[in-house]
């Protein structure tokens, strides 16, 4: 796309625009480059100053760059608890499992033809179909926001993934305020749904966005309050310490009400059936994702399933003892198994339940779940104040 420069004014504007973009790109690219090189043991700033002082250093640097090994942190970010595993596990495996599982419950067959066993390659077929489809941006849509929304959803999903510890050493970040961090990231999703609905400039999208906003705001507060019991029992806001506090007994046994409330709120947050009002396909086509086509829709699906995996992992961390399990099986496998189980249980309602009405949904969130969380918090305080439980065992 080239713009013709006709006047001096447009020439100046062109130059200013170029410089502004250059500054933005340099600012955005230099910081990650610094950290990535830092992970390999190379400090970019000292390197630049060395090269400027003595140009002969550069060939030596080239040689040393070929000899470095990928470090553990890079592996964590990209491979195991990080993005690749989550994307493959949640979107490739779990979508197939979901389709097959729901089909079996409903006495259907499910995907069947692609691949040798049970249509296991069906997702790859769908992926390639999406990759080759045209990305249609509606004429009256707000293009910038329209394109930015799938990326923002991906950002939220990936950031959630970084907070979930998969094993004693397998976590990307362990901030001291991890629990609040999780809720801060969850709190960003209503903005994304609302902006997607607004930017599409379609009535289905906008209605879906408003529904998503109402639902997520109504269920966010019970969700935060239901975890307070876990925080009281473990005495920490860090996810790793919460798992370590469950070495004796899992919190689902001490906090059954909290676990149920958190589970229901998760279902609502992930817009899964019976709480799929924002994307009710019989009324709103696909809710706030209606106008997205091709790979933008693919990114939505991928981000939704990564979020699904990450939040199931958060449930495992809070209530199912994270990586703890009988010893011959390694802790990473225990974590993935438990997360898989949570995801399966979350898929169950999809097979058997109808959609709830919006007033039932909102009343349930604001009144019933809220009361249950206060009962749960009272029980947790009772357990601690009677001296029945200290972090790490009974």
């Amino acid at each position: 796309m080239t713009k013709t420069i006709l006047t001096f004014r447009s020439f100046v504007r062109h130059i200013v625009w170029l410089v502004a973009w250059l500054l933005v790109i340099v600012a955005v690219a230099s910081v990650p480059a610094y950290f990535i090189l830092d992970a390999f043991g190379i400090n970019l700033l000292t390197l630049i100053s060395m090269v400027l002082a003595n140009p002969q250093v550069l060939p030596n640097f080239m040689i040393s760059l070929t000899q470095t090994q990928p470090t553990e942190s890079l592996f964590l970010f990209t491979t195991f608890p990080g993005f690749t595993f989550a994307a493959l596990f949640s979107s490739i495996l779990m979508i197939w499992v979901e389709r097959k599982f729901v089909a079996k419950i409903q006495l259907r067959v499910g995907p069947q033809y692609a691949g040798k066993y049970g249509g296991i390659l069906q997702n790859f077929a769908d992926l390639f179909k999406l990759l080759f489809k045209e990305i249609i941006i509606p004429d009256k849509a707000d293009k910038k926001v329209f394109i930015a929304v799938p990326l923002a959803l991906m950002f939220v999903a990936g950031s959630l993934l970084a907070l979930v510890p998969a094993a004693p050493d397998f976590y990307i970040a362990n901030p001291s305020v991890g629990v609040i961090f999780v809720f801060a990231l969850i709190g960003l999703s209503p903005i994304i749904a609302l902006l997607a609905g607004w930017a599409s400039n379609s009535k289905y999208s906008f209605l879906g966005g408003l529904r998503a906003l109402h639902q997520m705001v109504a269920y966010e507060i019970p969700m935060i309050l239901s975890v307070l019991g876990v925080v009281v029992l473990s005495g920490s806001l860090s996810l790793v310490s919460i798992v370590e506090a469950q070495s004796g007994i899992w919190f689902i046994l001490l906090q059954p009400i909290g676990a149920i409330v958190f589970f229901v709120a998760l279902l609502a947050e992930l817009e899964r059936i019976p709480f799929d009002l924002p994307e009710a396909d019989s009324e709103l086509v696909a809710g706030w994702q209606t106008e997205y086509s091709g790979m933008t829709f693919g990114i939505f699906t991928l981000a939704t399933y990564i979020k699904f995996y990450a939040l199931s992992g958060v449930f495992t961390v809070f209530f199912l003892g994270g990586w703890f399990g009988p010893s011959p099986v390694p802790p990473e496998v225990w974590f993935v198994l438990k997360t898989f189980l949570v995801m399966l249980v979350m898929m169950l309602p999809r097979a058997v339940m109808p959609r709830v009405r919006i007033d039932t949904l909102l009343r349930g969130g604001w009144t019933k779940l809220m009361v249950l969380t206060f009962v749960n918090l009272f029980l947790a305080l009772l357990i601690v104040s009677l001296g029945l439980y200290h972090a790490g065992g009974l």
């Binding site: 707000d142 609040i180 801060a184 903005i191 609302l194």
Partner: protein, 169 residues
Amino acid sequence: MVDLTDIVFVGMSVVVVGGAISALEAREIVYGAIGLAFSFFGVAGLFFLLDAPFVAVFQITVYVGAVAVLILFTVMLVREGRWMRDSLSSTGRLVGVLTAVVLAVSLALAFAASSLLKTAEQATAPSFTGIGQYIAVQYAPALELLGLVLAAAILGAMMLAKVERKDKP
């Protein structure tokens, strides 16, 4: 030698100031709300830089997750084409710039006169448990007063909503 902290600080400041400017200057009012959310994000980043993750995370939870959502929602409900179609008059613009300059200079002078610039020594980063103990023990009366204020605000909102509903036939 430029420290990495300085680079991140400058980047975050650009985000904060740029977000604030776009929040005020955007023609499309939804863009203004998005700019405000970005500005809040930048402030959270500055808090991270200052070793205060607790405040930073609450900045994101409360300001981006609640206040920005509220503003976006309100803005979308009253969406009526493009707002602010007519630009300001030149006198209005002049008065605005003068007010901003006077305010900025006086704030800078106030900061220069205060002792804020001298507290550069290394302090231990406060943990959230320490903050919680302060709030629950030393500042408990203030906490309870805040709770009362919030309860009064909620009751007032409910009263307003109820009166509005009665007016309708």
